[in-house]
Each structure stands twice: as structure tokens, then as C-alpha cells.
């Protein structure tokens, strides 16, 4: 059965994929459908959805178009989710690979280091990091990456530990391949499936984290993100439900879609490995 056929067997995953594609499409089309800056104050404040033609989702506290914000926000949320996950992978995969492959003291040392990061509550550490670096897309991405790499390292380490004594790895060692080649060519490709699955969930978590940071006022003030929109609408939630509803719903949908896709990938890539995810 082809990969996609296995993926598509999970109906939830298919729905998730469709939602995700729609959101990506939104992000791509935003500059064409809404060429104006989403910050532009274009109408009376607090227009409810569809009250005035051309403002499908209404306007916010300052008369900015909510629909424009949602469209442009898709780009920001996805970008932050993807980049921070990439950075987290770039930290977690090598550390986990080295710890898992070499074992012994190296492993002990790296795992203590990882545990250390896990001892500080994630969200607390993220807040402190963003506050210290001052809120900007870069600092948010870095903070999210710094708090989310430990599970990657642990997963990769566990995979490496279980794979490093696989017979094909030992065979590779016996024929005289170098450690580097073994790590990169023999083991790493076989750990990709669980990493991909974890990564799809991390993107979702990163989007949630960004929105929580923005909610506390620690977002980048120069970009319109969904988290920012909820944070800004929070004070008017009583008089203008749609201001926090739509971006909240957008986050919900995106995170949901990513989770569904993650589950689908999990089913399609490693039917037996799902248990090793924690």
C-alpha cells in the first residue's frame, strides 16, 4: 500500500490535511486578497461580522479588518510554528543522536543537561526568555525552541538506543563504516518517522505557546498573529465576542489539523512505533 493510501485510510488525517492545506493557502494568498496592511484602520471599530459589506468577520477595537488579520496571521502562526520546531529539532536531534549512539558518560552528561531543562516548567521558562530577550519574532521562536527540544532529544535518544544494537547497525560497524556514517546513514533515516510525527505535534504546540505568550503581552508588536489578536481582544471579549472567537477558532483548527495529520502520519509511517511516543 502506498504511503498516501495508508495515510488516507485515517479519515481524520485526511480532514486534517485538507484544513491544513486551506490554512497554508490562506497564508499564501493573504498578500493578494488583502494587500493592505492588516494594521490599517479601515472602518468604524467594533463592526460585528457581516454588518458591513466587505467585512466578513467584522472590525476590531480600532476599526481594523478582522478577516485581514486572520489571513495575515496564518502566515505568522505557521512561520513561528515551523521555524521554532526546526530550531528545536536542530538542537534536539543531534543531542539525542549522540547521547543515544555513544551511551555511557556522554549519554549521562547530555541527559542530565536535558533533565535540567525539563525541571523548569516550560511555559515559565518561555516567558522569562522572551521577557529577557524582549519580544520579537526571533526571541519568541528561540524561546519556544529552547523549551521544546528536550522531548525531541529524548525521543531520538530512545530511538538510537533501540536501533544502535540492531543487527544492520552492527553489520555496518563490522564492515568498517565510521560512526558518522552509521549515525547519518544507518540510524537517522530509520528514526525519521517518529521524529516527523513528533514534529507535526510540536508545530501545533508552538502555535499554542506563541498565542499564550501573546496573550500575556509578550508577542511581537510588528506582526499580526492570531495569538496577538486574542490577546488584544481579551479585554473586549464581552462586547465583541467575534474578535477573540475567530482567531481562537483559527488556532483551534490549525492545532487540530496538525494533530490529525500527526496521527495520520503516525499510522502511515510507523504502525508499531506509536507507543514509543510519550
Amino acid at each position: 500500500m502506498s504511503f498516501f493510501a495508508r495515510f488516507a485510510q485515517n479519515r481524520g488525517a485526511l480532514i486534517g490535511l485538507i484544513i491544513l492545506m486551506t490554512i497554508i493557502l490562506m497564508a499564501i494568498l493573504a498578500p493578494f486578497l488583502y494587500p493592505d496592511s492588516p494594521w490599517r484602520m479601515v472602518q468604524r471599530p467594533f463592526l460585528s461580522p457581516m454588518e458591513v459589506d466587505g467585512f466578513l468577520l467584522g472590525t476590531d477595537t480600532m476599526g481594523r479588518d478582522v478577516a485581514a488579520g486572520i489571513m495575515h496571521g496564518a502566515w505568522v502562526s505557521l512561520l513561528i510554528g515551523l521555524v521554532s520546531t526546526t530550531v528545536a529539532l536542530a538542537i534536539g536531534v543531534p543531542l539525542g543522536a549522540i547521547a543515544g549512539y555513544y551511551g555511557g558518560l556522554i549519554d549521562d552528561g547530555l541527559m542530565r543537561f536535558t533533565e535540567f531543562f525539563q525541571t523548569i516548567p516550560n511555559f515559565a521558562l518561555a516567558i522569562v526568555l522572551v521577557a529577557i530577550m524582549q519580544p520579537s519574532v526571533t526571541s519568541i521562536v528561540l524561546a519556544i525552541a529552547i523549551v521544546s527540544w528536550p522531548p525531541v532529544a529524548r525521543l531520538v535518544r530512545a530511538e538510537f538506543m533501540s536501533l544502535r544494537h540492531r543487527e544492520y547497525v552492527e553489520a555496518a560497524r563490522l564492515v568498517g563504516q565510521t560512526n558518522r556514517t552509521i549515525i547519518l546513514r544507518q540510524i537517522l533515516p530509520n528514526t525519521l518517522s517518529p521524529i516527523i510525527v513528533l514534529a507535526s505535534l510540536m508545530v501545533a504546540t508552538a502555535i499554542l505557546l506563541e498565542s499564550a505568550l501573546s496573550f500575556l503581552g509578550l508577542g511581537d508588536p510588528n506582526v499580526m498573529s492570531w495569538g496577538y489578536m486574542i490577546g488584544a481582544a481579551r479585554t473586549v471579549i464581552r462586547q465583541a465576542w467575534w474578535l477573540s472567537f475567530f482567531p481562537g477558532f483559527a488556532i483551534l483548527l490549525t492545532v487540530l489539523a496538525l494533530n490529525l495529520v500527526g496521527e495520520g502520519l503516525d499510522d502511515a509511517l510507523n504502525p508499531k512505533l506509536s507507543r514509543e511516543r510519550s
Binding site: 535540567f116 523548569i120 522569562v128 487540530l256
Partner: protein
């Protein structure tokens, strides 16, 4: 005896980790722009150099960094966490005053999420591929995907404002002068919304984990053995599948319990719950270094305690580990 030794060793390790955390956080916080003196001066609404100099000298901020670090670390060794100049109280007093509230909130949310998550997860596992099972999982997924603060806001609007069933904020009714059972009831009422909100996300995690773990366990050979004995599905589900499925959940719960302290920052802020999560956010914003460091220390200590408890529970649940083989 085994436990006593285990706990002792774990505590020793914890001391090392905590020491590292103290040092790490100390330097981390030094990197933040603006020192406490500048903030206090800023808040005062008027300031001059003399005022700043007084404050800095008083907080020891005029000393070189290593002296500050040494003072702080040697203070902690004697359980002296310093003084919060912003709040004009010893840090330890501030934290101890707030800690019970956080423990109550996170503890309740933890128990709630774990209990409900396991129940819902087992139900979903028993109803796999049935609409009711899918419904449970869909709900869990939605709880998982919904931002915590958003649920909190919605809960306030719905239950406090429109329905007026539950208090929206605080830990007890101020000025009511309640005591005894009435006070307990009052606190319990205040606890419902924040604890439920905080629990939802984690409940979703446990539900999914329980289901996956139970499905996994139900594939095991011993389940087939149990069926071959003629045991009823309920007994198999409970005694054989669930018990084994709980092991990975214990591990996960231990990890997540620490994260709850982080989640408490949002919950405590929205619901005005007087705990250390909120205190931490305020301390950070006010550059209340000593207080912030103290809270980090305590939350890390909490995480470590949770982990030790998890280990002990795991040991109780899994005889294989006790024997050390």
C-alpha cells in the same frame, strides 16, 4: 529501607540540580534589561540619581556579579532566599504564603485530569471504532487544541457572568468571615473554574495516552491468556489491561505535573488565584530578582518532588523495578 535509600539518593541528586538551576537562573535574570532599582524608581513617578544609588546599594546591586551570586547561593544554603524589595517582605514568606494556593490548584487539577483522563481513555479504548469512542477522542482532541486562556475566559463569561453559578476569581469570598466547613465550601466553589480549566488540557493528554496505552496493552499475550481463562471482559479490562496500561501514564503524569505549574501562570492570572504562578509573572515584570529566583527554585523543587513521587508510585505499581532486575 529500599525506599529510604532511594529517596535519600534522589534528594542528593535534586540538590545538585537545584544548585545548577539557581546559578543558571541567576545569570539568566541578570541578562534582563532594567534592574529592580530602575523599576522601583520608575514606579515612584519621580526619581534622581541619589535615589537610584540608594536603592542599588540597598539591594547589593552595586557589588560585582560574583559577590552577588555568592551572597545569594550562600543565603540559600541556609534557606535564606533574600528579601523582596518590591513587596517589602522576605522572599520565603511571600512564597510560602502563596504556595498552598498553587498546590491546591495544581493538585486538584492534577487529580481531576488524571482521574477523568483515565476514565475517558479507558472508555474510548473499550469503544474503539464505535461512534461513542470516536466522540470521546474528538472531544479530547478539541480540549487539547484549545488555548488554555481562551477556555478560561469563556468559562468566566459563561459560568460567572451569564449563569452566575460560580465565582469568577479569587480563592475565597473576601470579608465574608467564613470559617470551618463554610470556608472549605467557599474555597471549593472558587476552585471549580480554575481547576477545571487547568485540568482540561491535561485531561486531554491523559485520555489520549490512556487509550493508546490500553490498546497497546490489549494486544499483549497475557490478555489472550486472561481471555483463555474465561475471565469477563470487564475484569480483563480492569485487572489486566488497565493496570499494565497505567505504567506509562504514571511516567507521563510525573512529567506533566511539573508543567502544570507553568500552566498555572495563565490560570492564576485569569482567575486571580493567589498562587506562585501569578507571583512569578509579576516578579518577572517588576524585575524582583530575589523573588523570581526564589519562585524558580521552588517550582523546580516541586517538579523534582513530583518526579520522586512518580518514581515511588511507579515502583509500587511495577514489582519488576523493586527487585532491581
Amino acid at each position: 529501607m529500599l525506599y529510604a535509600r532511594l529517596i535519600l539518593m534522589r534528594l542528593l541528586k535534586a540538590v545538585v540540580v537545584l544548585f545548577m538551576i539557581v546559578i543558571f537562573n541567576f545569570f539568566l535574570i541578570q541578562m534582563a534589561p532594567g534592574d529592580p532599582a530602575a523599576i522601583l524608581a520608575g514606579e515612584a513617578g519621580a526619581t534622581d540619581q541619589e535615589f537610584l544609588r540608594q536603592l542599588r546599594e540597598r539591594f547589593g546591586l552595586d557589588q560585582p556579579l560574583y559577590v552577588q551570586l555568592w551572597r545569594y547561593v550562600s543565603g540559600i544554603a541556609m534557606l535564606d532566599f533574600g528579601y523582596s524589595y518590591r513587596q517589602q517582605m522576605p522572599v520565603l514568606d511571600l512564597i510560602l504564603a502563596r504556595l498552598p494556593a498553587t498546590l491546591l490548584l495544581t493538585g486538584t487539577a492534577f487529580v481531576l485530569s488524571l482521574a477523568l483522563g483515565i476514565v475517558a481513555g479507558s472508555m474510548a479504548a473499550a469503544r474503539v471504532k464505535k461512534p461513542s469512542g470516536s466522540l470521546i477522542m474528538a472531544l479530547a482532541l478539541i480540549f487539547y487544541a484549545t488555548p488554555l486562556f481562551w477556555v478560561a475566559l469563556m468559562a468566566v463569561v459563561l459560568f460567572s457572568v451569564y449563569l452566575d453559578w460560580l465565582p469568577a476569581y479569587g480563592m475565597y469570598t473576601v470579608g465574608a468571615g467564613l470559617d470551618g466547613f463554610a470556608l472549605i465550601l467557599d474555597v471549593a466553589k472558587h476552585l471549580v473554574l480554575p481547576a477545571t480549566t487547568l485540568a482540561l488540557f491535561f485531561m486531554a493528554i491523559y485520555t489520549r495516552m490512556t487509550r493508546a496505552s490500553m490498546l497497546e496493552a490489549s494486544q499483549q499475550d497475557y490478555v489472550k491468556t486472561a481471555r483463555a481463562k474465561g475471565l469477563s471482559p470487564r475484569v480483563i479490562q480492569r485487572r489486566h489491561i488497565l493496570r499494565n496500561a497505567l505504567l506509562p501514564i504514571i511516567t507521563l503524569a510525573g512529567l506533566q505535573a511539573g508543567q502544570m505549574v507553568g500552566g498555572a501562570i495563565l490560570t492564576e492570572t485569569v482567575f486571580a488565584w493567589p498562587g506562585i504562578g501569578r507571583l512569578m509573572y509579576e516578579a518577572l515584570m517588576q524585575r524582583d530578582y530575589n523573588l523570581l529566583l526564589g519562585i524558580f527554585f521552588f517550582s523546580a523543587a516541586l517538579v523534582i518532588v513530583f518526579n520522586i513521587i512518580t518514581d515511588l508510585v511507579y515502583r509500587l505499581a511495577d514489582p519488576r523495578i523493586k527487585e532491581g532486575s
